[in-house]
Structures are given as structure tokens and as C-alpha cells.
Amino acid sequence: MLITRFKIAEGGDVGEMKTKTVEVEINGTRYRLRVKAKTTLLELIRDQLKLTGTKRGCDTGDCGACTVIVDGKAVNACLYLAAHAHGEKVTTIEGLQGDGGSLHPLQQAFIDHYAVQCGFCTPGIILAAKAFLDENPHPTREAIRQALAGNLCRCGTHNRVLEAVWDAAGQVSQGKKGEGT
């Protein structure tokens, strides 16, 4: 699917705006989009593509609610220019489920461990955890704590998040072993 969208502010002069064409793969779908030079990846995802699972919590990269995965790394989408995502593969929370909508082990673990309260920070935490586990399939609990320290949660789900990620880590690494044999 190819979408070309460009929202022109009424009365604005297109000629004056510095725009760029970005080709990016988001959740397995390729897009070609016109964006302003200063458009962030968060604005592209939320406002242009309407993928509202990625949250806007602070706009300054301090809360982690907008965490998405770019090229295997967790990034704060509010600080990441959309233009920089050119040629990259991006995963948002909407792209985490498997075929037929099966939940990712992290998603299931967050449900099973009651690691969700208001849920506003949840997508960002799950994606930060996924990027971390992909790189570190056998983490220590302390490593999980450090990896998720940038994802704020005010409801206080911290310890349950730790248990959920720990649990999912076991499943994910087992799953990978399974794939190898």
C-alpha cells in the first residue's frame, strides 16, 4: 500500500515550506510520505498515519510514552525527525501482534502479570522491552530495570512490568531456541 499525504495548512505557502519525501516501512507496510523538514516521527505516526497507539506524553524525550523501534533500536519518536526514518523499518505497538492477531509474548505477559493500569505508558514500555530483549535474550533483572528506566509510569506498575518482561524473556528465548532446532 502506498499512501501520499500532505496536509497543507490553509493559507500557508507550500513553496516556502521545506518538505521532504520519506520512504519508510512501518509495521511491514511501505509508505511514501511528504513531510515537513521538522516533522517528527511521532507526528508522522500519530497525525498522518493515525496510529494512535504511540503516545505523546512530553515532546521532550523524557517520558518514553512515544517509544517505537527503528532499525531494531528503541527511540523516542518525539525527538526523531521523520526524515531520518527514510529507508528504515519502524515497528509501533500496532505492529507487534503476530499472524491472525496472536499476541507477542510481552503483550501476553503484561496482561498475565497485571502490568497495566491506565495503559498510557504501556505501548512504549512494551516496545522498549522488545528492542531490549531482541538484543539481550537472557537478561538479568537488573539489566531489565536499567533498560526500562527511561519509560515513566505514574500508576506504579514498575514491579509488575519487571516480572512481565522477565517472564516474557524466558518465553522469547525459549521460542528462539525452538526456531533454531
Binding site: G53, G57, L106, C118, I126, L148, L152
Partner: protein, 767 residues
Amino acid sequence: MTIVGESLRRVDALDKVTGKTVFSVDFTLPDMLYARALRSPFPHARILHVDVERAKRVPGVRGVVKGEDVAHYGLYGMAIKDQPILAIDKVRYIGDPIVAVAAVDEEIAEEALALVRVDYEELSPVFDPLEAMRPDAVLIHENMMDYEYTPLNFPVTGTNICSHFKLRVGNVEEGFRISDEVFEDTFSTQAQQNCAMEPRMSLAMVDPSGRIAVWTSTQSVYATLRGLSDLFNTPQNKIRVVAPPLGGGFGTKMYLKAEPIAVVLAQRTGGKPVKFQWTREEEFTVPTMRHPAIIDVKTGVKRDGTLVAREIEIIWDTGAYVDNGTLVCRNGSFSAPGPYKTPHVKVDGYCVYTNKIVGGAIRGFGLPQPMFAIESQMDIIAEGLGIDPMEMRLKNAVEEGTVSASNQRIAHTALKECIVEAALASNWKDRKRGPAGDGPIARGRGMAIMHKGTLTPTCSSAFAKVNEDGTVNVMCSTASLGQGNETALGQIAAETLGVPFDWVTVVGPDTDATPFDRSTTSSRSTFHMGNAVRSAVLDAKRELLEMAAKEFEASPDDITVDQGLVFPRKRPSEGLTIKELMQKYFGGVGTVIGKGRFHTRGGKLDPDTALGDVFSAFWMFSCVVADVEIDTETGKVRVVKVVSANDVGKAINPAICEQQIEGGTLMGMGYGLLEELLFDNGKILNDSFRDYKIPTLTEAPEVVPLLIEKPNPDGPFGAKGMAEEAIVSVAPAIANAVYHATGVRVKSLPITPEKILKGLRERGKAS
């Protein structure tokens, strides 16, 4: 019971882990415009002139409004009407809104605001509440006595004191006279910000007919409805308020906040909806903070530790407007003497205007401040008398049937059970103070207890709509803040009717569809709405049983409903499904609805003594024991473990209760150690998560939540509210643990490394 009491999976979790939940900020409407507000850079200034002409001419701008355009609507405010929609004659804090703009995007709205010209005459500001209380202080609200206010406020003429609350029990002078020892201490607490992860949002639309619709991040659609109806002089049937799921509330998403500005802009856009979403900076600087407080406590005791008299004075710094700050003062001051028996009590609470951000409701509603003072002092007294801090508390704690220090007869409490269980789980009797090994680490263990009432009187109502197939929609206005209401209220409904849990859906707040509820605050929903839902479902069930009685030629009392089957108790094989029963009764399609209401009575207190009536429909109690490790070289405190025993009556869903306890513990730890809004001439210096630290996964201690179950006869299935309990005792338990470890008594929050090092230095000098 098979459903109530089970840790069923949260029904909201699947949508949340897949990113499908449409939160308030995710809500959009076609053609909507975006709003921004110009806010005052001065803490106190007269507005001489506002020029918006250039802003209006910016292409893409669809509406510009300034104070005088909407001055005819007058002032609003839940407790005292002291706040204009946009500043008219003067601004009273840095952040006071002056002009608002609606445009096709936020950037254009910002551009337009940059072209607004405001001429100010700066006035001398007052930031210190003690200074603001002086008779010669600059007045922040010169016409305070002309404002409309509710009878729960006691403003003092010619001052900045917007309420002086008084509690008088017994004879405090006599109490001190007969005491063996008297202890006097002063404590202070800081401004804490709520920091809900979702910034607030209000999206307003005004029909050509004038009907107003608002989708908004509020904890009470009905408080918003009443507020807007009052402010815009519009009947309540001409206003619709909807609250989508909120990314946290914690008390501050209440009463009118972003709504009035969204509405006055929407009145000027030819029917186009206007979305006003706050930035994180606005979240830090504009809405309600937890009141900073100064607390003087004087306590008289017998040599055996029996409390005899307490005199407490609390200064509540409520900032530039009241919001519901005077109610925080009332609630916190009333409950300040703590969950103890004390025959002679005098409390004075002064709620004081300053030129700062507005103080208001945040989890705990006025209890974390005085309980920090009282519980710190309980340890000071215990040490002074040579009594174990736990024994000191057990000796004086309220019991069922006794009268508390606030002169309330306690009908239900498991406080002593909480103390005993927390002591057991934390191995209290073996607590060891002092250094851990040869290094600089010192270990300590501290305890604190609390009580808190729920706002009384209040009312909640619910509908139970039985669908054709026997499934049920419960319609109620409890807001979804993350507290698990959909699950817990669903469990109450399913258990009451006798259907499987997944047959019930709880429908969220929309004043066009869901009936009245006071608010999702004050730890009141499980108790009040739980009772209302139970009563609505019983109403529907009564009709079903009557239908079945006819069908089975039996008495309704002999019919039962189980797993969705309706049958005479003695003839279960003849059972019909609810669907079949209704089809037979109606001879076709038809359904049943039930209605339920629950309301509490009380709250009529004498204005001079606060005596004479029930203050709260139930009291919450808990006990916290905190284990800390302190690096005596850096002053850094690490909270290792928190045991939190909570009186829950009956846990409708134990796992969700534990989540509340863990959440309160983390927020309480932030209050105790990390969090503080820092001011410089009224300007908040740390207005981002970079500079204002809340606890993260690296600091999260082990939390041991204990649910102490002792059925509360007034609650649904024995439940009582418990959401706010857990935060209150954490900071004082940490303070007591820090003292236990180091001998340093920190009397001001937060307990920073600097304060501990200063205390250690002073102790070093003394020894």
C-alpha cells in the same frame, strides 16, 4: 461467591497492550481545530490592554478570544467562584490564561499567540503563605468576600485566607494541663505535581442550536456538566459531557480545567470542534499541585504513652485560585490528628492564596501533609518515652466503637490488624538500626499508619440493561483512570445477577447515556458505585425473578439464577436461559432494565467546631513499614522494601487492589524522597520530567501489599474504598526509617541527600 474475590484478568488490558485504547488525547473529530492559550509571564500584574488584532489576521486562525469577550459569563470555581475563563483585569500566577486561539493546527495557533500584545502593570507578588497571611499583605483577590462560595468555605475578610477551618474536641488547654509530657514540632511539606502520563484534553463542539458537547479528560462528567451549565447559563440537557479513558487522573482531572476555554473558542468557529490539549509544560505549571503545607503539632501524653491532647495548625498554600483547595484544607485539617483516640483536640487549618500555581486534589486529598507530621512526631514521642513505635501506635489506635481524635465514632476498622500484619511481614520486632557492615551504608526500618475519610454525603447511580441474549451492559459514570473499574464493577454485576463474568460490559461516562455519579475520586467508586451497580442489577434481577415465578408457578423467592440459567431452586433441570425467559414473557422481543442509586448522609458539621455529624461514610486505614539503606557519605536513601497492609473490607479483585497499593507506594516514595516543584519568584523551574524526577524502575523497591479483609457491612460484598490509602504513610515511614538508621530527623519533605548530610554533620558536631 465465584466471581467477586477472584483476581480476574483486567478487561481493559488487551486493548491497552495492543495500543487500541482511544484515550482522551487520541480522540478526534472531522474538521476539528486546535487551541492554544497565551499565559501570563508575571505572577501578579494588572492587565492594562490586550491587542489581538494581528493574531486574528494570521491565515488559518479561526477564533481568538480574550478575557473581556467572555467576562459576561462571570467567574467559576467548585468551592469559591474566583476564576475567570480568561484573565480580565489582572493575572495572579505565572500561567494564568489571557488569550486563547483556535486554528487549523497548533503551530498556527502558537504563531498567532506570538502576535498578541498585552500591556501589564506589575504588582508586588506574595509567594510565602506566612507572609500572605499577615494583615498588611498584598491582597490577591481584593473582592474575595463578594465571591459566591459554598458553606464549606470560611473566608476571612480583608485577608488572603480563603478558608479558616476549625476542629474543637474536648478542652485542649485542660488536656495539656493533665499531660505528663508535651512535645512540640514543626513540619513542612512541598508542592508535588500529579504527573499523570496523559496530558489533559478538552474537545468542545457547539451546535447551531447552542447545544454544547465536550469530550474531556475528566474524573467526573457530572461535575463538568454542572460547572459548564452554571458558567454558560445553559440547561443541563443542552450539554453533553463524555469522558474517554484517561491516562491517569490522581485527583487533578476534576472540575473545570481546559473545558471553559475549549467551549468559548468552539462558540466562535461556526460549529467546528475545538481541541485544547495541554503540553507537558502546562501540565507541570498550570493545573493543581499538591498543597505545600506548614504544620505545627503540639501533643500532650501520659508517661505510659496515652495521647491526651493535640493542637495542630496547618497553613495550606493554595496558590492563585481555590479550585477545590479549601476542601483539601477541610479534609486534611479535620483528619489531621490521625487514626488515634485523643480526647482533647484543637485544629486550625488556614487555606491561603499566594501568587503560585493552584493547589488542589491529588491522591490522598490533604492527608499526606498532616500524616507526615503526625507520624513523624509519634516516633519522636515514642522515643522520648522509651516505647516501641509500634506499641505506641497500637496503644492509641482507634478500634471499632471508639471515638477518634476528630470526634468520629468508628463503625468499621481493621487498623490494628493492619499494624499487626505489617509488623509480622516486616519482622518488626527484630529491627536493627545502624551500619550494615564496615561500609558507609546504614540500615533502618520505620512505621507509619493513617486514616482517611471519603467525601460525604455523595450520590452514585447506575443502570443495568439486560440484553436480549441475557448479557448485561452496566451503564455508570465512573471514569476509567486505570484503576480497574470496568473489571471490579463488572465482577459485582456478574456475581449479583448470576451470570458469567464475560456476559457483563461496563459502559463509561457520557451524560447523554449514563446516569449521575458525583465523581471518580475520594476512593469512592468501589463502595458507592459498587453499591449502585449492585442495586441496579438487583432491580433487573427482581423483574426476571418475577417473570420466572409466573413461568414456573413458584414464588420469586424460590427462583435462582446461576451461570445465566434461571430455575426453581428445587427443580434445576427445568431451567431456562435469561434469553428464553424474556422471550416467553414478552411473546417476542423485549428486555429488562434495572436502576440503582446509592447515597450517603452526613457532613453537616458545626462551622466553629466541626462537630455534630458523620464526616465520612467509611474510614480507610493502613500501616506501612519501610526498610531503607542510607549511604552516609552521600546522603542517598535507597528504599529496599515496603510492606503495606491495607484495610480493604473485602477485595472485589485482589490483584487490582494490589496494583493500587503498589501505585500508591511508588507515588508516596516520590513524595518522600524525590519530588518537589521548585519556585523562583513564582516561576516553576522544573517543568519537565528531565528536571522533576518521579520514581522509575531503577528505584522501585520491593513492595509487599497485604490485603486485610474484614467485611464492611455497608459496602458491596463487604468492600470499602482503598485507592488513596497506600500513598499516605509512605513518606513518614521512610522518614522514621531514616531516623532509625542515622539518628537524623528530617522534618521537611522531600528527604533529600543534602538534608540528611546536614543532619549527619550536626550530629557529628554534637557528639
